[in-house]
C-alpha cells in the first residue's frame, strides 16, 4: 500500500510538473504568462458555467414538481460516466503503453500490480477535474432537500468513486486489446483499427439500446409516462438503465438518511475497490508482458534498394507528409486528431438516425430554417475546426525532436503552409462526411452543399492558422507521454476559445447584415473575404516569429 501511495505521489508530481512550474515561475521567469492565460481562459468560461448552474436549478425545480427530484443525480452522473469512458480509452492507452515512466519503474523492485494500480489511481485523480465541476452544482442545488452530514459523506464518496468504473472498463478493454493485437509487424495499425472498432461498437450499442428502450407501442405513451412517474425513482431507473452504477450512486446520495443509502454506498465502495483489485490482477498478468513486447520490431530482412526508396518532394509536401506520418503512426494522435473528424459527424447525424424515428425532426428543422441552412452548416463546420487539436499541437507533437525543424532552412511561408495542410485536409474530410450523411436526411440541394463546403473551408482557415501560430510561439515539447502533447496542452484551449470567439463574431456580423437586409450572397462574400484577410494577417505574424 505504501508503495502505491509513493508511486501515485511521484506520478502526480511529475504530471502536474510542480517543480518545473516553480522553477519556471520563480527562477527563469519563463512561462510566467501561462498561469495568467489559464486563469483568463477559465474566467472566460464563467458565464457558460453560470448558465450551467442555472440550468441545473431549473431542471431540479421541474423534477421536484414531478416528485422525481432524486433523478437529477442520475441525469448528470450518466453523461459524466460516458465522457470519462469515451475520453478514457485514449488516456489509458497513453498512460499505460506510451508513457516513458514505466520503463524507468520496471527495473526497480516494485510489484507489477502496484505499478498498474498506481497508474490507474493517478488517472482517476486526473478525472476529478471533470467530475467535480460538473457534479458539485447538482449536489449543492439538491442539498436543501436531501442535505445533512451523511449526504455530504456519501456525496464525497460518489465524487471519489465515480471515475473508477468507466476508467476501469477502459483499462481492461485496452489491456486485453494490447495483448490480443501484439502481433509483430503491424501492431500500431491493428491497435488503431481496433480502438476505432471498440469505440464504434460502443456508440452503436448505446444507440441501439436507446432505440430499443425508448420505443413504445403507439398509443401507449400515456401508460408509459404514468408508470414512470408512479415511483419516486421512476425517471432515475429509466435514465440509468444502460449503466446501473449511475442508479446506485444516485440512490446512495438521495437515500442518505435511510439504511438503503448506506447499503448503496457500501455497494459502490465494494465495486470501486473490486475494480481496482481486478485491474491489479489483470495488469500483473498481461500488462507488463505486452508492454515489453511493444518494442519487439520485425526487422525488414529485404535488401534495401535505395533507388526505389528515394523520392524528391518540395519542402512544403515534405513537412506535410512528415506531419501526417507522425499522426497516423502514433495511436494517441490518431485517436485525438483524426478520429474526431470521423466521429463528430457520426455522433451528430448518424447516431440520432440509429436511435430511430428522428429523421422527421431533421426535415422539420430543415424547412423551418431553410433560409439559413447554409449559414448554420458553415458555423457548424467552423466549430468542427475549433474542436480539432491537429493545428494547435502541430509542433508540440514533435516533443524533443522539435530541434530538427528549428535548425532546418525552411522559409516561414513554406513551414506555415506545410503545417496547415493536415488540419485543413482533416477539416475537408469532416465536412465531406457531414454533407454526405446530411444528404440522406435532408433534401439539401447541390448549391447549398457546395457553398457550405467552400465557405466552411474558408472560415476554418484562420481558425487552423491561429492554432499553428500559437503552437509555433509556445510549443509544449516537454512531455513524458504523447497524450500530454494534445490533451494537456493549453494551446488547444486557446485555439478553441479564439475559434469560438471568431465564430460568434461572424454570427453577430451576419445577424446585423441580415437586419439591414443585405443579400445572402454578399454575406457569404464578406465572410469569405474576412476569413482570407484574417488568415493573411496570421500568416504575416507567423513570418515575424523569431
Amino acid at each position: 500500500m505504501k508503495q502505491i501511495v509513493k508511486l501515485v505521489r511521484i506520478s502526480l508530481l511529475s504530471s502536474f510538473g510542480f517543480s518545473s512550474i516553480k522553477y519556471n515561475f520563480m527562477k527563469s521567469k519563463k512561462d510566467i504568462w501561462k498561469p495568467i492565460i489559464l486563469v483568463l481562459a477559465l474566467a472566460s468560461l464563467i458565464p457558460s458555467y453560470v448558465m450551467y448552474v442555472q440550468l441545473i436549478k431549473n431542471i431540479y425545480i421541474q423534477l421536484f414538481a414531478l416528485g422525481q427530484e432524486s433523478s437529477i443525480f442520475t441525469l448528470i452522473i450518466m453523461p459524466i460516466s460516458l465522457i470519462i469512458f469515451v475520453f478514457g480509452l485514449s488516456y489509458v492507452l497513453s498512460a499505460f503503453y506510451f508513457s516513458n515512466d514505466v520503463e524507468k519503474l520496471i527495473p526497480l523492485p516494485i510489484k507489477e500490480g502496484n505499478i498498474v494500480i498506481s497508474k490507474f489511481i493517478s488517472m482517476v485523480i486526473f478525472n476529478y477535474f471533470i467530475v467535480v465541476p460538473i457534479l458539485l452544482p447538482v449536489l449543492i442545488v439538491a442539498f436543501g432537500d436531501f442535505g445533512g452530514t451523511l449526504y455530504i459523506i456519501y456525496s464525497l464518496l460518489t465524487i471519489l468513486l465515480l471515475p473508477v468504473i468507466p476508467l476501469g472498463i477502459d483499462t481492461i478493454i485496452i489491456m486485453v486489446l494490447m495483448k490480443l493485437t501484439n502481433i509483430q509487424g503491424r501492431k500500431d495499425l491493428l491497435r488503431n483499427l481496433s480502438m476505432f472498432f471498440v469505440l464504434f461498437i460502443i456508440i452503436a450499442l448505446q444507440a441501439v439500446l436507446n432505440n430499443t428502450l425508448t420505443s413504445m407501442e403507439p398509443g401507449k405513451e400515456g401508460e408509459f409516462l404514468n408508470a414512470l412517474l408512479q415511483r419516486s425513482d421512476g425517471i432515475m431507473v429509466w435514465l440509468g438503465r444502460a449503466y446501473p452504477p449511475a442508479i446506485w450512486f444516485s440512490k446512495s446520495i438521495s437515500n442518505a438518511h435511510k439504511i438503503s443509502g448506506l447499503i448503496y454506498s457500501a455497494l459502490n465502495i465494494l465495486l470501486g475497490v473490486g475494480m481496482v483489485y481486478l485491474i491489479g490482477q489483470i495488469g500483473s498478468k498481461i500488462y507488463l508482458k505486452a508492454l515489453l513486447e511493444k518494442n519487439n520490431f520485425k526487422k525488414s530482412l529485404k535488401k534495401v534498394e535505395l533507388g526505389l526508396l528515394i523520392k524528391n518532394r518540395s519542402p512544403i509536401i515534405a513537412i506535410f507528409l512528415n506531419d501526417v506520418k507522425l499522426v497516423l503512426r502514433t495511436p494517441i494522435y490518431l485517436f485525438n486528431c483524426v478520429s474526431i473528424s470521423f466521429l463528430l459527424p457520426i455522433l451528430v447525424i448518424v447516431m440520432p438516425l440509429i436511435s430511430g424515428g428522428q429523421d422527421a425532426d431533421f426535415s422539420q428543422l430543415y424547412f423551418q430554417f431553410k433560409e439559413y441552412i447554409t449559414l448554420i452548416l458553415i458555423a457548424f463546420f467552423a466549430f468542427i475546426a475549433t474542436a480539432n487539436p491537429t493545428a494547435s499541437t502541430t509542433y508540440s507533437r514533435e516533443g524533443k525532436a522539435y530541434w530538427i525543424h528549428a535548425v532546418l532552412p525552411v522559409a516561414p511561408g513554406s513551414m506555415f503552409v506545410g503545417r496547415m495542410l493536415q488540419p485543413m485536409l482533416l477539416e475537408l474530410i469532416s465536412i465531406f462526411i457531414m454533407l454526405v450523411s446530411l444528404a440522406f436526411v435532408l433534401p439539401l440541394d447541390i448549391g447549398e452543399m457546395f457553398i457550405s463546403l467552400v465557405i466552411g473551408m474558408l472560415v476554418s482557415l484562420p481558425i487552423c492558422a491561429i492554432g499553428v501560430f500559437i503552437d509555433r510561439l509556445y510549443p509544449k515539447l516537454d512531455w513524458d507521454q504523447p497524450q500530454r502533447a494534445v490533451k494537456q496542452n493549453i494551446n488547444v484551449l486557446l485555439n478553441m476559445l479564439i475559434g469560438v470567439g471568431y465564430i460568434l463574431l461572424l454570427g453577430f456580423m451576419t445577424m446585423k447584415m441580415m437586419e439591414y437586409e443585405i443579400g445572402v450572397n454578399l454575406i457569404y462574400g464578406l465572410i469569405s473575404v474576412l476569413s482570407i484577410i484574417s488568415t493573411g494577417g496570421i500568416f504575416w505574424a507567423f513570418h515575424k516569429i523569431k
Binding site: 525488414s300 526508396l309 528515394i310 523520392k311 518532394r313 525532436a401 535548425v407 532546418l408
Partner: protein
Amino acid sequence: MLSVKNVKKSFNGGKTFAVDNISFDVHSSEIFGFLGPNGAGKTTMIKMITGLLQLDSGSIEINGVDIEKDSIEAKRQFSFVPDSPEVFDKLKGIEYLNFLGDVYGVESKDRIERIEKYATLFGLKNALNDPIMSYSHGMKQKIVLIGALLHEPEIFVLDEPMVGLDPKSAYNLKEIMNEHCQKGKSVFFSTHVLEVAEKICNRVAIINKGKIIAQGTIEELKNMTKNNESLENIFLELTEE
C-alpha cells in the same frame, strides 16, 4: 567560416550569464574543439550558433551570413548533430533522410550516393527501412549523423558527437571530419573526450562558467604551462575551482 563576436546569453532574468562575452573564429579547413566542464555553457553556445536560442547581444556569422539577420540562409550553411539523438521515432530511417533531403533540396542522384556511402560506413544500410523507434541509441546517433552529412554543409556543428558511438563508428566519424576539412570546409564540435580533441583538433577553446579561458592550437595551450603538460592537465588546471 564561423565568426562569434562578443556573444552574451543570460538566464534568470539577467542574473546568471551562461555565455559571457565570448568571441572566437573557426576558419575553413579547420576542426575546432569546444571544451569545458558540465554546465560551462558549451551547449548554450552551440544552440545560439544553430539558431535554437536567441542571443542577448553580440553576433554570429556562419559563412558570412548572420544567424539572426538571415536565419534561413545561415541555416543552409551548417548542419547540426545534438548531444541527444531525439528524432521522429515513428519514421523509418530512410523516410527521415528523405525528409531532410527534400528540405535541403538535395538531388536524388546525390542523395542516393551519399546515403549509400554513409549508411554503409556506419553499418546502417540494412536498417534504413525499419522504424527509428526500433533503433538503439547508437543507431539513432548514426542516422542523425547521416542526415547531417546529406547536404554536404560548409560547417558541421556537433555537440558531444562521440557519446553512444561504438569504437569503429567513432573512428569513422573522425575520418569523416578530416575528409570534410580537406574539402575546405570546417567542423565545430564540443566534447568531453580530451584525447579526441588532442588528436584531431586544429584548434580548441576551453570554456568555463560562460567565459573562454583559453584558446589556440594544442601546442599553443601546452606552451602556456611550464612542463608542456597534456591537454587533460591543462584542462583540469584551468577549470578547477
